[in-house]
């Protein structure tokens, strides 16, 4: 407990409460029941002091539920929590904070219009009514000096990069002197480089005995590189745990999905009967500030072809996808599907059979408070058999369809009537997939489809995309994951500064060339 000078310095801090060094945490027979669904069944895990512990499991296995029980967001139906071998009672997130347990979420919780410093100070449980900023800033500066990584304190959170934001989230917890950090899929918003940097630093702090880390992840690479021990959940039960050194990736994936068969990689047919084409003709789109984000982009995708758009995020990809999805108006140009202009009206979507899998489905493709059944009906609620004469809803038909698709796409949900926001992240994704891919698809616009999915679901989704390609659909795939692009695309394009700067068939290019163009050369 020596390496970093943080313990004793922090203990003089108002919120530090004299806590020093890492501590262990244990759950005993943790059980959580939601209605008829047992999300967590008698799970006992032990995370030793100073350990970097990974929590694995397929989508809906109960990982988030477990950490939410630890954090006091949920009250467990049964079970205890031991901190440093003493039982503690956590009834609300504030209790967890007092006990020194902090959590970093997959999505940012920063206040965008406040600076990094302000974000940190207001997160304190004892933030004074009147804050003496000069003094606080000085203390923060001193605190930052002791930290292995920094962020600019006076920058507004909205202007920080994703990596910096995630660092700030972690610094916030350290500033609060939380010595047990729970990270729920912390790297899904980061580039691999940023992820490695942050996890490496946390790993070092844990090694030094300053903190304990419990990280939920779907990425074996991160587990092998940074974690000491792993625990695996399967369908709410403890499936196993052990030291990372003793377990191969294969062992871990077996623990996750049992002996279940993984979806085979779908074969890519050489000759495909094309169904339709999509042509992006001189498309220009402005961002929220009115700056040109997509600049006269031309791109044509044939039926039976996947065109992957690679690029560093923020180079116009999300604006392009939003424009194609009808979420953003065009500043110029047109989209042509099968020789007909596509204006993203409901009629166009239906007639031209254009579908989409946008990123962050809860934000872009679903209504949180509506049920799974209703969310599945978004495409078809106004057509027979779900509506008669185009006006009158038939809830029973809606439900039948939902039950069928829930079953077919293996969506794990307590019932078709559950609000979609209660589903695990991966199952929200599957619900949208079921809605968008269950019909006849001519054109598919896909953005980062595998964020936050377990490896089996990733394989499933990628196979579905190849399936659609083989059936003759024209597919546009925007992804920040170059491996995904290389695996799925027939043709690769690179987007940089709002323009397509490079295009090549997949077998005439390689990772390095693409990387060069991504970097803007």
């Amino acid at each position: 407990m020596t390496a970093l000078a943080l313990p004793e310095d922090l203990s003089s801090h108002p919120v530090a409460g004299g806590r020093t060094g890492a501590f262990s945490l244990e759950t005993v027979s943790m059980t959580k029941v939601f209605g008829s669904l047992v999300a967590l069944d008698d799970v006992s895990i032990k995370v030793g002091a100073g350990e970097f512990h990974a929590l694995l499991g397929e989508n809906g296995a109960g990982k988030s539920t477990l950490v939410k029980c630890i954090m006091g967001f949920y009250q467990p139906t049964r079970g205890q929590l031991l901190v440093d071998n003493r039982e503690v009672l956590i009834k609300a997130p504030a209790d967890a904070q007092a006990a020194g347990i902090g959590m970093v979420y997959q999505h940012f919780t920063l206040v965008p219009c406040l600076t990094a410093a302000e974000n940190m100070v207001i997160s304190r449980a004892d933030a004074p009514a009147v804050i003496k900023w000069a003094k606080e800033k000085e203390e923060l500066q001193a605190f930052m000096e002791r930290m292995p990584f920094r962020v600019p304190l006076n920058t507004v959170a909205a202007d920080l990069s994703a990596g910096e934001k995630q660092k700030l989230e972690i610094l916030k917890q350290l500033y609060l002197n939380q010595r047990f950090l729970i990270l729920d899929e912390p790297t899904s918003v980061l580039t691999p480089g940023e992820a490695d940097e942050i996890l490496g630093l946390l790993h070092d702090m844990a090694r030094a005995g300053d903190i304990t880390v419990l990280m939920i992840t779907h990425k074996f690479r991160e587990v092998n590189a940074f974690a000491d021990r792993v625990t695996v959940l399967r369908r709410g039960k403890l499936a196993g745990s052990g030291s990372v050194n003793d377990l191969s990736t294969d062992d871990m994936s077996k623990m996750m999905i049992g002996e279940a068969q993984m979806r085979e990689k779908a074969p890519r047919l050489a000759r495909v009967e094309p169904k339709s084409t999509i042509e992006i003709a001189g498309l220009s789109v402005d961002d929220n500030e009115g700056m040109r984000a997509v600049d006269a982009v031309n791109l044509k995708i044939r039926g039976g072809e996947i065109v992957g758009i690679a690029g560093v995020s923020g180079n116009g990809q999300s604006e392009l996808v939003e424009a194609l999805a009808g979420q953003r108006s065009l500043a110029g140009g047109a989209v042509i599907v099968n020789g007909r202009r596509f204006d993203a009206t409901r009629k166009d979507f239906a007639d031209l059979k254009v579908f989409g899998l946008p990123e962050e489905p809860l934000k872009n493709a679903a209504v949180k408070r509506m049920s799974v059944s209703e969310n599945i009906a978004f495409r078809s609620f106004d057509k027979a058999p779900m509506a008669s004469i185009g006006w009158w809803l038939k809830p029973a038909a809606m439900r039948d369809n939902a039950v069928r698709l829930i079953d077919k796409y293996h969506v794990k949900t307590p019932s078709a009537e559950t609000p979609i926001e209660n589903l695990s992240g991966g199952n929200v994704q599957r619900t949208i997939l079921a809605r968008e891919l269950s019909g006849d698809v001519n054109v598919l616009i896909v953005a980062n489809p595998c964020f936050g999915l377990d490896f089996a679901s990733v394989a499933e989704i990628r196979a579905q995309l190849i399936d659609q390609r083989n059936k003759g659909a024209a597919i546009l795939l925007v992804s920040e994951d170059l491996d995904e692009i290389l695996e799925l695309s027939d043709r690769v394009a690179v987007m940089s500064g709002g323009q397509i700067t490079y295009q090549a068939p997949i077998d005439e290019t390689d990772r390095n060339t693409i990387g060069k163009y991504m970097a803007g050369h």
């Binding site: 209605g35 949920y74 009250q75 993203a344 009206t345 979507f349 509506m370 006006w391 809803l393 038939k394």
Partner: protein
């Protein structure tokens, strides 16, 4: 499909989470009402008045006799309509507080149209029909302006509806004090009276005018529209997540304008009944605050059209008992306003309680603090 025709009933695997959520949706507003009553009681006690007597008088003045019950229902009528005028846009995610303005414009338009028709001795029912239509059209168009500005220009609909209300009142005053003024109206500038023959009568056997029936029918119709039709479904999707609605190609702009227009038409109809069943002419009495009380009604009813009816009746009772309370307890007219204000504030505060009670549900969502 045979089964599809029959079963609107609760599905077999109905989730307890939903049932709990709907219990919560009733329990929290009820709790807010009780809390408001307690705060108001403290207020009364500080004034040296008896809270018990107050609530007893509200009960007696609101429901105690058939006279007071009818009085209550009469006053509830415009509140049902203005409550609907707030609730429908709320379903699509808009906070429109301009029912007062749409009511005034609707009532004024009806009174203005009546002047030539009445003087030409047009058929009674035709005149009534035309007056209803113009009141609804004027109110609807008035509020639709705000919806259109919202969609095409991104103008905040709360502010625009508030400003439109002031403009509506000014327009009415302009005409009522000028071109359309009845010379006989000395102290209170008004339009020509529409005359007894053209007034709306009472429901047979009661002292309550037909507006109540219109209000009830509209509440049921809008409930059906919002929960059983594709239009309502599209509106709910748009209200829940406009981005998702756009990505489904839903005509978000049209939906917004139509919902605004429906809301305005409800308020305009309330204006018609104020003119044609109560005052007999358009004048400053139309600006009675029904539009604003309607906001309160809609909030308490959680924007549920059917729930608006009982809530409006409760507020009708508070207003109906005003005179009795004034006389018996020697308290000013504004007392009821104080109570309404307290309810509103407590209600808004209680909005933050959803999802906080473990009994109602295993806390809803996840990745936010």
């Amino acid at each position: 499909m045979a089964q599809a025709e029959t079963s609107f009933a609760t599905p077999p695997a109905y989730d307890t989470a939903r049932i709990r959520a709907s219990i919560e949706a009733v329990a929290i507003p009820l709790g807010a009402l009780v809390a408001s009553a307690i705060i108001f009681s403290v207020f009364l006690t500080l004034l040296g008045k008896s809270p018990l007597q107050f609530f007893e008088l509200v009960w007696r003045g609101g429901f105690g006799s058939s006279f007071s019950l009818q009085n209550t229902l009469q006053r509830a009528t415009p509140l049902i309509l203005t409550g609907l005028a707030f609730a429908i846009p709320a379903r699509i995610g808009l906070v429109m507080i301009g029912a007062e303005g749409a009511l005034v414009i609707g009532g004024f338009a009806a009174a203005a149209l009546a002047i030539p028709l009445v003087s030409a001795e047009a058929p009674v029912y035709l005149t009534m029909l035309l007056m209803v239509l113009i009141a609804m059209a004027a109110g609807g168009a008035w509020n639709a302006i705000a919806g259109w500005l919202k969609h095409s220009r991104g103008v905040n609909e709360t502010i625009s509806t508030l400003l439109l209300t002031y403009i509506a009142i000014a327009i009415m005053n302009f005409f009522v004090e000028g071109a359309l003024r009845d010379p006989a109206s000395q102290n209170k500038p008004s339009t020509m009276p529409i005359g007894k023959d053209y007034m709306v009568g009472n429901i047979p056997g009661t002292d309550v005018h037909w507006g109540l029936v219109f209000g009830l029918v509209l509440a049921v119709a809008l409930q059906v529209l919002m929960s059983r039709t594709t239009f309502g479904f599209a509106a709910r999707v748009t209200g829940g997540n406009p981005r998702a609605a756009l990505a489904q190609g839903l005509p978000v702009g049209t939906l917004i304008v139509v919902c605004s227009a429906i809301a305005g038409a409800c308020a305009g109809l309330a204006g018609y009944f104020e003119v044609a069943a109560i005052h007999g002419q358009a004048n400053a009495s139309l600006v009675a605050g029904y539009g604003f009380t309607g906001i309160l009604v809609a909030f308490l009813a959680r924007h549920n059209p059917l729930m608006i009816v009982p809530v409006a009746i409760m507020f009708g009772a508070i207003e109906a008992s005003g005179g009795l309370i004034q006389r018996r307890m020697d308290m000013p007219d504004a007392t009821a306003l104080v109570l309404q204000g307290i309810i509103f504030v407590v209600l808004l505060a209680s909005d933050s309680l959803y999802g906080r009670f473990a009994i109602f549900q295993p806390k809803i969502s996840t990745e936010r603090t």
